[in-house]
C-alpha cells in the first residue's frame, strides 16, 4: 500500500525537484523574498535619511523688538544646523508662514518682543517655531531646532545656577539605567525572536499555501484535465495510495516553501533587523536550538499536511486547474487573514484563536520562536491539524471513489 504511494510520490517529486523553473518558484522565491524586501526597504530608508540630513534648510527668523543685544547665542545655536538663515521683519512673517505651507521654506522662528527683559527677570517666555508636518525637510529641521533650543535652554539654566553659587546637580534628582548593566532580562536571543515572530506566522502560512497550490492543483485537477488521471486509475494501485502519494508530494512542496521562507526570514533579519531597533548583539546571538527545531517540525508538518489536504480536496473536486484556482481563492484569503490575525495578538492570544486550527499552530510557531511554547499547546496544535487533515483526506478519498466527481462534466 505505502510502497504504491511511494511510486506516485517519487514521480511527483521528480516533477518538482528536477524542474528548474518549478524549483525557483517553490524554493528561491520564498527564500529570497524577505531578504530582498528588507534590503530594499533599508536601502531606500537610508538614502532618504541621508538626503534629508544633508539638505540645507531655509529658516526664517523674526528677532522681535529690542532684542538686538541678546540674539547672539540664539543665532549661534540655530547656525549649528545646516541652514540658510533669513532674518525677516514683522511685515514679512505672514509671507514666511505661507512659504512654509507651500514647502518653499522649512521653518519660521518668531521671538517675542523684548524677551531680553524676561531673560534678566528670569521669567519664562515663549518662542514660536512654525513648521509643516507634511514636509519631510521641515519636519527634520523642526526636530533639530527643538534639540538645539533645548540644549541652549539647559546652558542658560546652568549659568544661572552657577551665578547663584549652587551645584548644577540640583537639576537632576535621579537618572534611569545610566549605570552600564544588562537591564533587559529577556532570554538570550529572544528579542530578535520576538521581532521575527511577528512576521513569521504570516509568511509560513502564505508559502505553505502558495506552494501547495502550485503543486496541488496540477496534481489532480491538472491530471483530470490532461486525461492522465483516468489512465492512472486503470492500474494496480489503489485510490488511497494515489491520494496519499499525491498528498505527500504537495506537503513536501509546502514544507520546502515554509522552510525556505523561515530561513530567508532569519537571514534577512540578521542583516537588516537593525532598523527595527534590535541591538547588534541580540541579532548575532540568535539561533534556534535543536529542541526548538524539533518542536517547530512537530507543529509545522501536520500543518503542512492540513494545508496540502485543503488544496488537494479542491483539486479533486475541480474539473480542471482553472476551476480549481477559482475555488481555492476564497480559502486562500481566509487563510491569509488568519495569518494576519496572528501578527497582532500580543502575548496572551484570545481563547478562540487557541482552539481554531491553523491559527493555533501559527501561534505556537510564534511562541517557539520567542523560545517558550508549552508542550501542551504544541500537542493541541499538532492534534487539531491531524484531526482536520484526516477528515479532509477521508473526504478526498470519498471523492476519488465517486465517479460523479471524478468524471464530472
Amino acid at each position: 500500500m505505502l510502497s504504491d504511494s511511494i511510486i506516485i510520490l517519487k514521480k511527483e517529486l521528480r516533477r518538482i525537484f528536477t524542474d528548474r523553473r518549478m524549483l525557483a518558484m517553490l524554493v528561491l522565491l520564498p527564500l529570497l523574498m524577505l531578504p530582498v524586501m528588507y534590503s530594499v526597504m533599508a536601502k531606500m530608508g537610508a538614502s532618504r535619511d541621508s538626503e534629508i540630513t544633508s539638505f540645507r534648510s531655509t529658516i526664517c527668523l523674526y528677532e522681535g523688538i529690542g532684542n538686538e543685544t541678546v540674539m547672539g547665542p540664539f543665532i549661534e545655536s540655530i547656525s549649528t544646523i545646516n541652514t540658510e538663515l533669513e532674518i525677516v521683519q514683522l511685515s514679512e512673517v505672514e509671507a514666511a508662514k505661507l512659504a512654509i505651507t507651500e514647502k518653499e521654506k522649512e521653518l519660521l522662528i518668531v521671538m517675542p518682543d523684548n524677551f531680553h527683559e524676561s531673560l534678566v527677570e528670569c521669567s519664562t517666555f515663549d518662542i514660536g517655531v512654525y513648521f509643516n508636518s507634511t514636509a519631510d525637510y521641515s519636519q527634520h529641521a523642526y526636530s533639530r531646532i527643538s534639540q538645539v533650543m533645548a540644549s541652549l535652554n539647559g546652558d542658560i539654566v546652568r549659568e544661572r545656577i552657577l551665578e547663584r553659587d549652587l551645584s548644577e546637580d540640583i537639576l537632576t534628582v535621579f537618572t534611569l539605567n545610566e549605570v552600564p548593566m544588562q537591564y533587559d532580562l529577556a532570554k538570550e536571543g529572544s528579542v530578535i525572536g520576538k521581532i521575527i515572530s511577528i512576521l513569521l506566522p504570516f509568511f509560513i502560512i502564505i508559502y505553505l499555501f502558495v506552494n501547495s497550490m502550485k503543486v496541488g492543483l496540477d496534481t489532480v485537477a491538472g491530471e483530470k484535465e490532461r486525461g492522465t488521471l483516468a489512465v492512472t486509475l486503470v492500474n494496480q494501485v489503489s485510490r488511497l495510495s494515489i491520494v496519499i502519494g499525491k498528498m505527500m508530494s504537495v506537503m513536501i512542496a509546502a514544507i520546502v516553501g515554509a522552510a525556505s521562507s523561515v530561513i530567508g526570514l532569519i537571514i534577512g533579519s540578521k542583516y537588516f533587523m537593525g532598523m527595527f531597533g534590535a541591538s547588534g548583539a541580540a541579532i548575532s546571538s540568535y539561533s534556534m536550538s535543536t529542541l526548538h527545531i524539533l518542536q517547530f517540525a512537530i507543529v509545522i508538518i501536520p500543518l503542512a499536511v492540513l494545508v496540502a489536504s485543503m488544496v488537494l480536496i479542491v483539486s479533486t473536486f475541480a474539473r480542471n486547474t482553472k476551476e480549481g484556482q477559482g475555488m481555492i481563492m476564497p480559502v486562500y484569503f481566509v487563510v491569509m487573514i488568519m495569518g494576519m490575525a496572528t501578527m497582532q495578538t500580543g502575548d496572551v492570544p484570545p481563547k478562540w484563536m487557541l482552539s481554531t486550527p491553523i491559527i493555533n499552530s501559527l501561534l505556537v510557531l510564534k511562541e517557539i520562536f520567542i523560545q517558550g511554547a508549552s508542550w501542551s499547546s504544541i500537542t493541541t496544535a499538532c492534534l487539531s491539524s491531524i484531526v482536520f487533515s484526516v477528515i479532509l483526506i477521508y473526504l478526498t478519498l470519498r471523492m476519488f471513489n465517486s465517479e460523479k466527481i471524478l468524471f464530472r462534466i
Binding site: 511510486i7 489512465v231 486509475l233 486503470v234 494496480q236
Partner: protein, 256 residues
C-alpha cells in the same frame, strides 16, 4: 475474450434541485474474441466513452456486466485492470517527462518488476519505432511521437484487451502504417482491441468487426460485409449517416 452483457448506464445529476437523468447506454451487448479489432462507431454523445469507461472499471454499470475471461467489472476490478490497456487519445502526457521515464512509471503502477519493464520497453520501443526519441522530453515531440508514446504506455503491462477511445487527435498516427501494422500484429498475437470513433474511414482501415452505437443503443453489429448486406448498402458511411441523420434513414438503407 471480452463480453459486454446488457450494459446500462444512467447518469443522474442534480442541478438546482432538479434531477437530470441521462440514459447514456441502453442494453448494449457485444463480444470481441482474441485476435479481433472491434470498432465502436457512433456520433458525439452516443455513449461510446461511457461504454469504454464501464469496460475499464472507471465507472460502474447501472446494470449489466462486462466480462474478460472469467472476471467481471462488478467483482474483480483489480483483475480486470491488470488485463486492460486504456487509452484516450486526447490524453496529454506531462511534457516534462521522457517516454522512457513514463514507461518506468506506469510499469511500476502495474506492479511490474524492473526487468520485466525493461524487456517490455525494448520490445515496444522497437515495434513502434520509438528508439530515437525515448529520452527526449515529451514536450519536444511531434504529435505522432506523443501518440506512439501513449500507445506504448497503455501496452506496458502486456494487456489482453486494449481500449482506445476516440483517436481523433492521433488520426494520422492510428492510420499511419507503422501503427496500424503494429496493432494488427498485436491483435493477431491473440489480443483484443476495441477502438471507438466517429470517423468511419479510420475504422474501416483497421477494424474487423463493428458496432454502431446511436443514442446509447447498439443498432448494428457485425463485420463490414454483414452490416452492408443487412442494410443493402455499399458503404459503412451511408449506413452510419442513415442512423444519425433523422428522416434520411430510409433513403440511405434502401438506396440500390
Amino acid at each position: 475474450m471480452l463480453r459486454v452483457e446488457n450494459l446500462f448506464k444512467v447518469y443522474k445529476n442534480r442541478k438546482k434541485n432538479v434531477t437530470e437523468t441521462v440514459e447514456a447506454v441502453k442494453d448494449v451487448s457485444f463480444e470481441c474474441s482474441p485476435g479481433e479489432i472491434f470498432g465502436l462507431l457512433g456520433p458525439n454523445g452516443a455513449g461510446k466513452t461511457t461504454t469504454l469507461r464501464c469496460i475499464s472499471t472507471l465507472i460502474k454499470p447501472t446494470s449489466g456486466n462486462v466480462y474478460i475471461d472469467r472476471y467481471n467489472v462488478l467483482n474483480d476490478e483489480k483483475a480486470i485492470r491488470s488485463r486492460i490497456g486504456f487509452l484516450t487519445s486526447d490524453m496529454k502526457l506531462d511534457g516534462f517527462f521522457t517516454p522512457d521515464y513514463m514507461m518506468d512509471y506506469f510499469g511500476a503502477l502495474n506492479k511490474m518488476s524492473k526487468d520485466d519493464i525493461q524487456l517490455r520497453k525494448d520490445y515496444l520501443f522497437n515495434e513502434l519505432q520509438m528508439s530515437d526519441f525515448i529520452h527526449k522530453k515529451i514536450d519536444k515531440l511531434s504529435t505522432g511521437m506523443k501518440q506512439k508514446t501513449a500507445i506504448a504506455i497503455s501496452l506496458i503491462h502486456d494487456p489482453e484487451v486494449i481500449i482506445f477511445d476516440e483517436p481523433t487527435n492521433g488520426l494520422d498516427v492510428i492510420t499511419s502504417k507503422s501503427v496500424t501494422d503494429f496493432l494488427k500484429k498485436y491483435a493477431q498475437a491473440g489480443k483484443t482491441i476495441v477502438i471507438s470513433t466517429h470517423i468511419m474511414h479510420v475504422a474501416e482501415k483497421i477494424c474487423d468487426r463493428f458496432g454502431i452505437l446511436v443514442e446509447g443503443e447498439l443498432k448494428e453489429i457485425g463485420s463490414l460485409n454483414d452490416i452492408l448486406e443487412n442494410n443493402s448498402s455499399d458503404s459503412l458511411e451511408d449506413v452510419f449517416f442513415g442512423y444519425i441523420l433523422p428522416g434520411s434513414e430510409g433513403e440511405v438503407s434502401h438506396a440500390q
